[in-house]
């Protein structure tokens, strides 16, 4: 039986874990490798690292983090942040990441999705979509949500899947960091138009939120704030899910 996944999302700046609200206003929290190892021991299903400064500096820091993580963490690792070319993706995958998450790079150059997918396989190519609710619809945000487009998220999700994306990391800019729950309508809208797995991100605050996301079609959830600030534990999220008949990997 397939299990729904609980993923930890770690935003990094240089060699430090950061956390923000609405993707701005960073705070430094410590060594990302310590956090991911802790989550691994607690039974996390996957780790996502987003390199917040990749486009400004080189990638040496994130590559070091990936290498160190793979020494002790034996679950899939996805890395995103500033991936603009096939060479960028290759560099990240060769450092030990299992999948790359691409946002702005793909939005500005959709052919990149096809290139990465053809070279490494769909399963390595995660399209990261940041959604901002504006004028009655969700539009695609990019450049760490500093810019909003007038392209609809639904339209972009369909296009990205057709181009070869294997998975969607769907983040609600409005809910991110608020711990007030996922944008359920957004998840439902995207899950109903694509046949590839969707990871819901942005807004997790209590264990019910996982169940709600799954009920809307999400295959996984990504959590940052609640885990990094010790508001909830992975075993708690799991046992609650099991009590609501959501299939998860047992602790």
């Amino acid at each position: 039986m397939t299990a729904k996944r609980i993923i930890a999302r770690l935003d990094v700046k240089g060699n430090r874990l950061i956390k923000g609200i609405h993707l701005e206003g960073w705070r430094f929290l410590g060594d990302p490798c310590d956090f991911s190892f802790k989550y691994y021991k607690e039974g996390i299903d996957e780790i996502i690292y987003i390199d917040a400064v990749a486009s400004l500096y080189n990638r040496e820091s994130i590559k070091e983090i990936i290498k160190k993580t793979t020494e002790n963490v034996f679950v899939p690792i996805t890395v995103g942040g500033g991936i603009r070319t096939l060479e960028d993706a290759t560099e990240i995958l060769r450092s030990g990441a299992d999948k790359v998450a691409v946002n702005t790079g793909a939005f500005k150059n959709p052919e990149l999705i096809k290139k990465i997918s053809n070279r490494f396989g769909k399963q390595c190519m995660v399209i990261s979509i940041q959604a901002k609710f504006k004028n009655g619809e969700w539009v695609v945000a990019y450049d760490c949500a500093r810019e909003y487009s007038d392209i609809g998220v639904i339209e972009w999700a369909i296009q990205a899947a057709e181009l070869g994306a294997g998975e969607i990391l769907l983040t609600s800019v409005d809910k991110e960091g608020t711990q007030k729950g996922f944008d359920i309508d957004l998840i439902d809208a995207v899950c109903s138009v694509v046949d590839i797995p969707v990871i819901a991100c942005g807004g997790f605050g209590k264990k019910d939120d996982f169940v709600s996301a799954v009920n809307c079609g999400a295959d996984a959830i990504a959590i940052a704030h609640s885990l990094h600030y010790d508001k909830i534990t992975i075993p708690e999220i799991r046992s609650f899910a099991l009590s609501k008949n959501v299939q998860v990997r047992p602790s």
Partner: protein, 210 residues
């Protein structure tokens, strides 16, 4: 000291399997040329990507023949993910392509619809359980009676018609495929043991006890 030779044919994330072998006290050695086949005590063929590319890269380096040579020595061999698929007779991925044919079987696409018409999301990118085929219960090498969860990420799979060579099967919404295959010293795992946490590491550890 258990030396584990890992084939580097440009088709995979080698660091993960390298680290995992280290973690279970093996000594991983990457090989990109088939020299000294007789030295390969444990041979691992990892792999991520498409079947036709995989076969072409193996052939380019002479590994297809080397793997067949090795299989006659009786020493343990493990194919992982694409590596497992390449062990079979052929695949329909992208274009019909012949495999190494160590174990008879075909690689086919995971269907988009399961039992009762339920939609199956492809790639099958998920933790899922492996269930042992009863045919092997009298001499189980891998202890999987508890149906552990392991991590799968694939769009193609081996079918369970291969009864005597399917060590474990896995299902997605009623559709079944072979998750571990076996013939003598030859083993294949469709999932990634190096990405399956403690359960996966235990399977790798058991492989090194062969």
């Amino acid at each position: 000291m258990k030396k584990v030779y890992i084939i580097d044919y440009g088709m995979s994330n080698l660091l993960s399997i390298y680290r995992a072998i280290e973690k279970v006290s093996g000594v991983p050695i990457l090989i990109d040329k088939p020299n000294n086949i007789a030295h390969w005590d444990y041979l691992v063929l990892p792999g991520v990507g498409a079947f036709p590319d995989g076969m072409s890269e193996l052939k380019k380096r002479g590994f297809d023949e080397a793997i067949i040579e090795h299989s006659k020595t009786g020493k343990p061999f493990l194919g992982i993910c694409l590596g497992m698929q390449l062990m079979l007779s052929c695949s329909e991925e992208l274009e019909p392509t012949k495999g190494i044919n160590l174990i008879e079987g075909e690689v086919k696409a995971i269907p988009k619809v399961g039992l009762h018409g339920k939609k199956i999301k492809v790639p099958h990118m998920s933790w899922n359980t492996i269930t042992m085929n009863n045919e092997f219960s009298s001499y189980p090498h891998f202890q999987i009676e508890h149906k552990p969860y392991v991590y799968f990420v694939h769009s193609y799979c081996a079918q369970t018609e291969i009864k005597h060579t399917t060590y474990s099967y896995t299902s997605i919404d009623g559709f079944s495929f072979s998750s571990i295959i076996n013939k003598d010293n030859l083993w294949g795992m469709q999932f990634h043991p190096e990405k399956s946490g403690a359960e996966g590491l235990q399977l790798l550890s058991s492989f090194l006890e062969l």
